[in-house]
Symmetry: none
Subunit: 209 residues, 4 copies
Amino acid sequence: MSLQQQAAGRTRRETNRENNRDAILEAARVVFAELGHGATTVRDIIRRTDLASGTFYNYFESKEAVYQALTDEIGNELRAKLSAARAKAKNFEEFVENSFFTYFRYYAEKPQIYNLVRANRTLDAFPSSLSGQQAQNGLKEMRRDMEKAMADGVIPQVDAGYVTVSMGGVAFSVRDEMMARNPLDPDGAARFATRLFLSGLSGMGDDEK
Amino acid sequence: MSLQQQAAGRTRRETNRENNRDAILEAARVVFAELGHGATTVRDIIRRTDLASGTFYNYFESKEAVYQALTDEIGNELRAKLSAARAKAKNFEEFVENSFFTYFRYYAEKPQIYNLVRANRTLDAFPSSLSGQQAQNGLKEMRRDMEKAMADGVIPQVDAGYVTVSMGGVAFSVRDEMMARNPLDPDGAARFATRLFLSGLSGMGDDEK
Amino acid sequence: MSLQQQAAGRTRRETNRENNRDAILEAARVVFAELGHGATTVRDIIRRTDLASGTFYNYFESKEAVYQALTDEIGNELRAKLSAARAKAKNFEEFVENSFFTYFRYYAEKPQIYNLVRANRTLDAFPSSLSGQQAQNGLKEMRRDMEKAMADGVIPQVDAGYVTVSMGGVAFSVRDEMMARNPLDPDGAARFATRLFLSGLSGMGDDEK
Amino acid sequence: MSLQQQAAGRTRRETNRENNRDAILEAARVVFAELGHGATTVRDIIRRTDLASGTFYNYFESKEAVYQALTDEIGNELRAKLSAARAKAKNFEEFVENSFFTYFRYYAEKPQIYNLVRANRTLDAFPSSLSGQQAQNGLKEMRRDMEKAMADGVIPQVDAGYVTVSMGGVAFSVRDEMMARNPLDPDGAARFATRLFLSGLSGMGDDEK
DNA sequence: CATGAATGAGTATTCATTCAT
DNA sequence: CATGAATGAATACTCATTCAT
């Protein structure tokens, strides 16, 4: 062990171990985005690295495990951002506004992640899909926050269940529409969704396209 | 060929041909609803009929083909209903209202179909539903109608793309929430979605839960 | 379908089906005898036929299933012979004598079967081994007959458990010794074992080598 | 090399070397007894020590090698005991008697060893035991002693081959039956086997169960 | 000599599809 | 047109062994 390695607190072996794990994750990200979870095989992933097939199993138990790791990483990050955004809101308007802005900006900034998500919306998608478990959790968290706000009288009393899933549905579908447009305009998408939820379409035609 | 068959306008062979096709479709409906598209095998389907495995390929080219046929059947029916509902609308309010009422009632009345859709919705929490293709077509039709109405000055000028996908997103997600509730209340769901789109959440708290 | 096939009551397809099953069983017999159950792979078996790998699974669920079929065939046959031999016995002497003669002659007449048995006495042998389950069953049957005879006063009261397993132990080990000798002398082996059980070694030296 | 180590006559490295070897052997004993030779993997063994997988190969060439070492250890001990027991015999009766008593007592006193043997006996109901090799050697030694005694006129002239394997067969099978009974009665088993070999079953019913 | 990560050959099994009958 | 046996490509995963550190 050289002095440098000691100084860094990690041996070459440890460094290498982390590199390999990252290499597999990175390859998986690409392959899942390209083929989708269902069509992806472990061999597809490992073929994109310079590792041997058995090595895969030194780092992940199965295809599902890498996929899980990948989606957890993304899901945790996005959920944290959304949670923080809601926490900053001082009223209902901000609650809605912050949520949409945060959500659309996240994907607009990370198109590769969007590709991954998009590819795994296919028919063969595995249950623990990115938006499967993670999205459900995200919605649950939002609902909890919303009900708390209702109890505090901060926001109007509405059917929290319907409102929550509606926000989710709009977020997902408007995100897709936004990502298909050029140039990317996450803030425009967010303004649209916010206005829709706050005052509906009735007054929209006037000053906003 | 017997006289009776001639009378019916079709040979025995033709009748039988249709029966077999229907038997396969019916079996597929059940199996896809139970296992989902990904996990379903042709053998699963054929096992539920009294036909032989090879016979499947006399009627459908592949698993995908039978799935397509199934979803087309449903999609065509639902799209026709929605199209008719929109045609009856005399103003924007009715446009939105008729759409949601039709959509939610359709699934509330056909829970088996919902099961099929549900088992095969993409796992993105935004249930892009029913093989995506059909839903995409449905949205396109709605968008066309909407743009026409905008051109005619019947409804306010809004971003038709965002509005369309938003209506889809809300329809899908509120439908799922509705189907999970007991008793089924498609009209309640439709009222919620309609009010959301027409006037937003702001005024909701007052007279509606 | 030709008239001949109809006359035989079986179509060519049925005949073929049986042929294939037999081909697999025969190949398995050879391979198991050569490699033993543990080292044998399904590929080894199928390679010895002119069938495709998948075809194996049209006839047997797994390697264990063929092995089971093979050992059951042998075990059932031998157990039936032994059971019949015991049934003919009018006294204890004949009970012992008939058992050993039947047993040793069986293997002397079927050396290929002996090879199969022998090869699957190895360390990796699979629990359901020929002599595992089948031999246990054979001993149980013998014990039952013996206890019945004891109850009827036909044979002396002895520790049936020890006697049964002793007869089994002697049968197995003397069989191996007999099969290693040339020329094969099953009757000599049977006479030895019979005398051992009836009067012990004490009086043996006199007239018998 | 410290003075202490020198005093002990072995370097630290040598001591450690022996410790590691013992640790592996001990772990192997447990695992083989639990899983059997076939199902045991090198990783199973090494996992039960605090050594690394590569270290295994510094001490044993393969799984077979460690198994060999284990069975040799046991086999050598048992064979030595049996050899000594036979040497003490002054006549044929004692030859047989001493052999069975020694054999049954050995296993009755060391149930863990029996478990190891049991888990790894061949699955032929005739438990050719302990990797076969050791048992074969033991029988060969017995046969040599027996033939010498025959030549000296001490025991009756019998077919030494058949007698030897018969004693082995009875020893193995009666041992199993004995170990399955409770309480353990090695002397009862030895008396049964001895009487069987000396005077057969004929006279047994009288005074012995 | 200890470590433990990397290796990659090896196996059972599934399943969509074909095609002789 | 129905049949259903045959096909064989394809995949996930294990494990003994090696070797750089």
